[in-house]
Structures are given as structure tokens and as C-alpha cells.
């Protein structure tokens, strides 16, 4: 059966969320022209950049068929360690970034090692490590922010490369590309998806499951660390509460983007559009001056609307496929 180009395009995971994003952008910019002002695009892209890295951190783990509840707690811990190292220990910023990324990788690996070696559900292990990371964070900071963010870091978080493209996009694009490449072309990426798709089959085909799980969690930790430090740059302050609200959005973006929560099936491009949809919805609520008491209702309605469109696309697609057959 030969399919037309349109159907093949629509058949992608990211087609639905992409379509919804475009529609939303079109509608909002007609109703509120300020939406496309350079400064607003800068604001939007900055928010997307950070949330994208957060979502990627969860995407890896979703791929392997697990959940990482500690993502936000780890991001927060790295964020305060990063600023703390600069402010209290006088570590230069580039070194502090490396230190932060290392903390992320090591902490992620620790999660992975325990999960892979014991076979205990990742849900439980990361729930425990969530408490540990957050506890260490509070133990260090006593809920007080660190203020000593160097100007170079603040600049990075709040200025544009050119026009409306913020510097923050850089790590997000880099991360997304690497992860896409990893899933597409690297052995470890295929292992992750194979393991998430069917554990028994993966084991039988001789995949090193322990190593794969550890790698996935180390990657997730790396992304969490990067996102934590990006937020520091953006907020210009080392808040101990960074990461507290990542949990749901980190799952929502990949799932809107077509990832299967049972593992084995992920889409980096779809996740990107998932992040875009969430960012646009958040902005729209503010742009249209919606009564704060109604905001949550509208938010929920918009999520359902996005889901509905996506279902409609799939439904149309299956009808077309039947007609074509």
C-alpha cells in the first residue's frame, strides 16, 4: 500500500502536537498581536529551553520503561550546589558547571546502579532518592536562597544570541540533538528502547540490561543537572525550591508528544512540541488576563482540547488508511 506524503507526515508522533502548536500560535497571535513581539518570543523560548531539558531528562527514563521521580529534586540540589560552590567556596563558574554536571551524573548513576542491581521498582528507588536529594538541599540551605550568582551566568540566562534567540536555547538544542542521535544511531539508544519495549526479549538477545539502565539514569541525571543550572541562570538566584514543580510537566510533555509510559517508544521531536504546547498554554492564560480563579479550569480544558485534536488526527488517519487500502 502506497501512502501519500501527507499521510506519511501525519503519521509521525510529532505531527499531532506540531499541528496543535501551530494552530495555537496562529489563533493567539491573531487575538493578541503582542504574542509575536520579539521580547515575548524571547521569553517563550527561554521557558521552552529549560522545560525541554527537563522533559528530556524524563524522556530517557520513560524510554527504558521506568520513571524518575527524583528528577526535580536532583535538579534543585545541583542548582544550589552550583551557586553554593561559587558563593561559599569561590569556585570559578566554568568549574562549578562541570562540578554540577558531575553531581548530576553521579547521583543519576547511583539511582541506576541501585535499580539495576536490586531489581526494585525505579518508582520506589527514585522516590527515596527524591527525599534524600531534597533533604540534603534543605539541610545545606535551610530554605535560604544563595544570591551569589556571577554576572556571566546571569547574562547567559537572560540575553539573546541575536534577535529573539536566547542563549539558553543552546544547551536545549544540543541536548535534544544528542538524544535524538543517541536513540537513532547509537547502540545504547537502541538498547534503552529495546529494554523498555520488551525486557525479556532484550535480555534474551544478550543486551547488558544492568549497564543500559545505569546509563539511562546517568543521562537523566545529566539533563536534570543542566536544567537546574539553566534555571539558576534564568532566575538569577539559587532558589532551594528549584525543581519542586518539575514532576508533572516532565511527564506531560513526553506523553503529549507521543511517548508510551510503558516504555520502548519515545519521540524527541514530539516531546519538543509537547513542551511548546504547555508553554503556549501557560502564556495564553496570562496574555488574555484570565481571572485567576478560572485559570485552572481553562488550563485543564486546554489540555483536553490538545488531546482531543490529537485523537481526531489519529482517527482521520485510520479512516484515510482504510480508504487507501
Amino acid at each position: 500500500m502506497r501512502q501519500s506524503l501527507a499521510i506519511r507526515l501525519l503519521d509521525n508522533d510529532w505531527a499531532g502536537p506540531g499541528l496543535i502548536s501551530l494552530m495555537a500560535i496562529a489563533v493567539i497571535s491573531i487575538l493578541q498581536p503582542a504574542f509575536l513581539s520579539p521580547f515575548n518570543i524571547l521569553v517563550l523560548l527561554s521557558a521552552i529551553a529549560v522545560n525541554m531539558v527537563v522533559a528530556l531528562g524524563q524522556l530517557v527514563i520513560i524510554g527504558v520503561g521506568q520513571m524518575n521521580l527524583a528528577l526535580g529534586a536532583l535538579g534543585g540540589l545541583v542548582a544550589i550546589c552550583f551557586v553554593g560552590a561559587i558563593e561559599v567556596l569561590g569556585v570559578p563558574a566554568p568549574l562549578a558547571i562541570v562540578l554540577g554536571l558531575l553531581i548530576g551524573i553521579v547521583a543519576g548513576m547511583a539511582n541506576g546502579v541501585i535499580i539495576a542491581r536490586t531489581g526494585i521498582s525505579a518508582f520506589i528507588i527514585t522516590l527515596a532518592s527524591l527525599q534524600i536529594f531534597k533533604g540534603i538541599n534543605l539541610g545545606i540551605t535551610k530554605a535560604q536562597p544563595f544570591y551569589g550568582v556571577p554576572d556571566s551566568v546571569k547574562q547567559f540566562g537572560n540575553t539573546a544570541v541575536f534577535g529573539s534567540i536566547p542563549w539558553l536555547i543552546l544547551p536545549a538544542v544540543l541536548g535534544a540533538f544528542c538524544l535524538w542521535y543517541l536513540f537513532r544511531h547509537l547502540r545504547i539508544g537502541r538498547y534503552i528502547l529495546a529494554l523498555g519495549g520488551n525486557r525479556q526479549a532484550a535480555e534474551l538477545s544478550g543486551i547488558d540490561t544492568t549497564g543500559t539502565v545505569i546509563w539511562a539514569h546517568a543521562l537523566s541525571g545529566l539533563f536534570a543537572a543542566a536544567a537546574g543550572m539553566m534555571l539558576v541562570a534564568r532566575l538569577q538566584i539559587g532558589q532551594p525550591t528549584i525543581g519542586d514543580d518539575w514532576l508533572i510537566s516532565s511527564f506531560a510533555a513526553p506523553v503529549i508528544g507521543g511517548a508510551s509510559l510503558s516504555g520502548g517508544h519515545v519521540s524527541v521531536a514530539g516531546t519538543f512540541f509537547g513542551v511548546v504546547i504547555i508553554a503556549i498554554i501557560t502564556q495564553a492564560l496570562v496574555l488574555f488576563s484570565i481571572d485567576p480563579f478560572v485559570v485552572q479550569i481553562v488550563l485543564g480544558g486546554l489540555i483536553l482540547w490538545a488531546v482531543g485534536i490529537n485523537r481526531f488526527r489519529e482517527w482521520r488517519l485510520s479512516k484515510l488508511a482504510i480508504q487507501g487500502a
Binding site: A47, K142, Q236, Q283
Partner: protein, 342 residues
């Protein structure tokens, strides 16, 4: 603030320290319990220690729930009661919901004062000492309107809607604007932004689209104040006037640099220190007067204002002294005005 070794050292000092003869051997164990980890309450730790030393308390401990959750705070309070604490300064996790655990404290021969925020009447708490949240928002908006030259459009950024204080703040800001007979209007209220990331996203998105449509910003919660101050600095905008809340370094610095006009300061240290003093007095046999000059607010009829002041650039360096002075004034007259001691 971050030194726990110093803390234990101070505690030992306080035990061995000078005991004022009248109160020697006080068995008052005060626990200062905020609603969750939050920088606002950091001053309570020192306040508790100072009160312990100055009034010879058996304890003056700052104990923080692990998370900003009503049930976590209740669990901690119940545990503290089991540990033998008998006098409590509590920031209510919920103005209505915290009454139940305070009732439990009273049932177990403890006493409690709602501190920094109030409990809604009828309440088993002795009284409420803190910032009149509604009034503070009202006064802050008045200052903002003054800075705006008496006319213009205001955006209001505030905290979680589940907190009843948020509604009081929204009403108070609106009231101040309404008193100008239409010269000032509140064009936008953004709520539920107590977390830094959503606050940053929403405030920036709002300013990106509407910076030209607003003349003033009033913030009535800690995180939005910090975020809005940073946003105005980033925009380099000094046309939009802003009045913040609390004493975060970012806000104070923005006031000095002219991006923010001022902030409504609260008195956390004074709340902790005065509260401990009063609790000890009441356990020592003093009684609260019914005809004391209680103030009344939207939540309770027994309210003592711990002081809020508007701080602008001229006082940004010595605001701590201003609050200390207020604390001293309240302390000097409290026994005479509010208590009968045999």
C-alpha cells in the same frame, strides 16, 4: 544563619547564661513552627534563641515542617507536643484548618499564638500576632498609587489561591484602587505563583505583552516580589512603579538601584521574640485582658500588629534598625496594655 555549630554553642550559653531572677527556672518550652521551609521565617531561629536567653526559657526552638503541607505541619506539632513543648508560636498552614491541631495543643495543656498569619475565629489560639496581610497589601497599594501620581493601571502578583490570605490581599489591593474613584484600576491579578519557575514564566510573559499597558506593579508574596524585581531590572524599566513585599536581598537591592519603589516590610524577628516573651508570661500566671486594645482584621478580633513599614530607598540600608525599634516599643507596653499579672 547557616551555622549549626554556632547554634548548639549558643544554646549551651543560653542554658548557662544569666537568668533573670523573677523568671528563674521557667519551664516554658517554646516551639516556633512556620508553615514550611521558607526564607521569611529564618529570623525566627535567632529570635527563639535570643528569647530563650533573655527570658530564661527552657527552650526556644525553631522547628520547621519538611514540606509546605498542612498535614506535615500538623504531624510536626503533634510530635512536638509529645516531646514536651508547651508553648507554641505557629504560622498557620491554613487559617481555618490549623485550628484543629491548636485545639489539640490546648487540650494537652499547651498554649499557642498564631504568629505572622492569623487563624480564623472561633479559634483556640490565644490571639494573633503578625502582619495584617490585608492591611499590608492595602498600604502597599496606597504607596504605589502615590508613586504613580494618583492614576494609572496596576498589575497584582500574588501567591497560592488555596491560602485564604491571598483572597484578602486581592480584595485589599482592589479596595485601595477603588478609593481613587476610577483613576487607578487593577487590570490583572496573577496568582498561584509561589514557585520560582512559574512565577518567572508568567510574570515575564505578562510584561512582554503588557508592559506598555501597566503603570504599576504590586506584589504581595515573597517569590513574585523577587521575580518581578528581577524582571523590571532586566527590562531596564523605571517607568513602571513597583511596591514589593518582604526583605529578600534582590528586592532591597532593586530598591537601592531604583527599579523598585519600596517594599512592605514585615517583622519576623519581632514576631518570634515578642511571641516567646508573651507565651512565657502567660504560663507564669499572667492573663490576657479582654478589654485590651485588640485590633480586628478579616480573620480575627484579637489581633496584635507586629508592625509593617513601607521601606523605600532612603531606609533600604537600615531597615533592620527600624524593625528593632518597633519591636522594642511593642515589648515595652505589652504587659501594661494586654495583660494582668498578679
Amino acid at each position: 544563619m547557616r551555622n549549626s555549630i554556632l547554634k548548639s554553642g549558643l544554646a549551651m550559653l543560653a542554658v548557662a547564661g544569666l537568668a533573670s531572677p523573677a523568671l528563674a527556672g521557667s519551664d516554658t518550652k517554646v516551639a516556633l513552627v512556620p508553615g514550611g521551609p521558607h526564607p521569611y521565617f529564618a529570623a525566627w531561629e535567632q529570635a527563639g534563641k535570643d528569647a530563650m536567653k533573655d527570658f530564661s526559657l527552657a527552650a526556644g526552638d525553631y522547628r520547621v515542617p519538611q514540606k509546605w503541607e498542612l498535614s506535615q505541619q500538623s504531624q510536626l506539632l503533634e510530635s512536638l507536643l509529645t516531646q514536651g513543648y508547651n508553648a507554641f508560636l505557629i504560622f498557620p498552614g491554613d487559617a481555618v484548618g490549623t485550628n484543629a491541631v491548636v485545639q489539640e495543643i490546648v487540650d494537652n495543656k499547651g498554649i499557642a499564638i498564631a504568629t505572622a498569619g492569623c487563624l480564623k475565629d472561633p479559634t483556640p489560639a490565644l490571639f494573633c500576632m503578625g502582619t495584617d496581610t490585608g492591611n499590608s497589601a492595602y498600604l502597599g497599594t496606597k504607596e504605589l498609587i502615590k508613586a504613580m501620581g494618583g492614576k494609572g493601571r496596576i498589575a497584582h502578583f500574588t501567591g497560592f489561591l488555596v491560602d485564604p490570605n491571598t483572597q484578602l490581599r486581592i480584595d485589599a489591593v482592589k479596595k485601595a484602587a477603588d478609593e481613587t474613584n476610577g483613576a487607578v484600576t487593577v487590570v490583572q491579578v496573577i496568582a498561584d505563583i509561589d514557585a520560582p519557575q512559574p512565577a518567572e514564566e508568567k510574570i515575564n510573559a505578562y510584561l512582554a505583552a503588557h508592559a506598555a499597558d501597566v503603570d504599576g506593579i504590586v506584589t504581595t508574596a515573597w517569590v513574585p516580589a523577587v521575580t518581578a524585581a528581577n524582571s523590571l531590572r532586566k527590562l531596564g524599566d523605571k517607568r513602571i512603579k513597583m511596591v514589593g513585599i518582604d526583605h529578600d536581598e534582590v528586592v532591597i537591592k532593586a530598591i537601592k538601584d531604583g527599579f523598585v519603589n519600596g517594599t512592605m516590610l514585615q517583622n519576623p524577628y519581632g514576631q518570634g521574640y515578642l511571641g516567646s516573651y508573651v507565651l512565657n508570661k502567660l504560663r507564669g500566671g499572667c492573663k490576657l485582658k479582654d478589654d485590651a486594645p485588640w485590633k480586628s482584621n478579616a480573620l480575627t478580633k484579637k489581633f496584635v500588629d507586629s508592625g509593617t513599614v513601607f521601606v523605600d530607598a532612603s531606609q533600604a540600608d537600615n531597615y533592620v534598625d527600624a524593625m528593632r525599634a518597633i519591636t522594642k516599643t511593642i515589648l515595652a507596653n505589652f504587659e501594661k496594655d494586654y495583660m494582668t499579672c498578679s
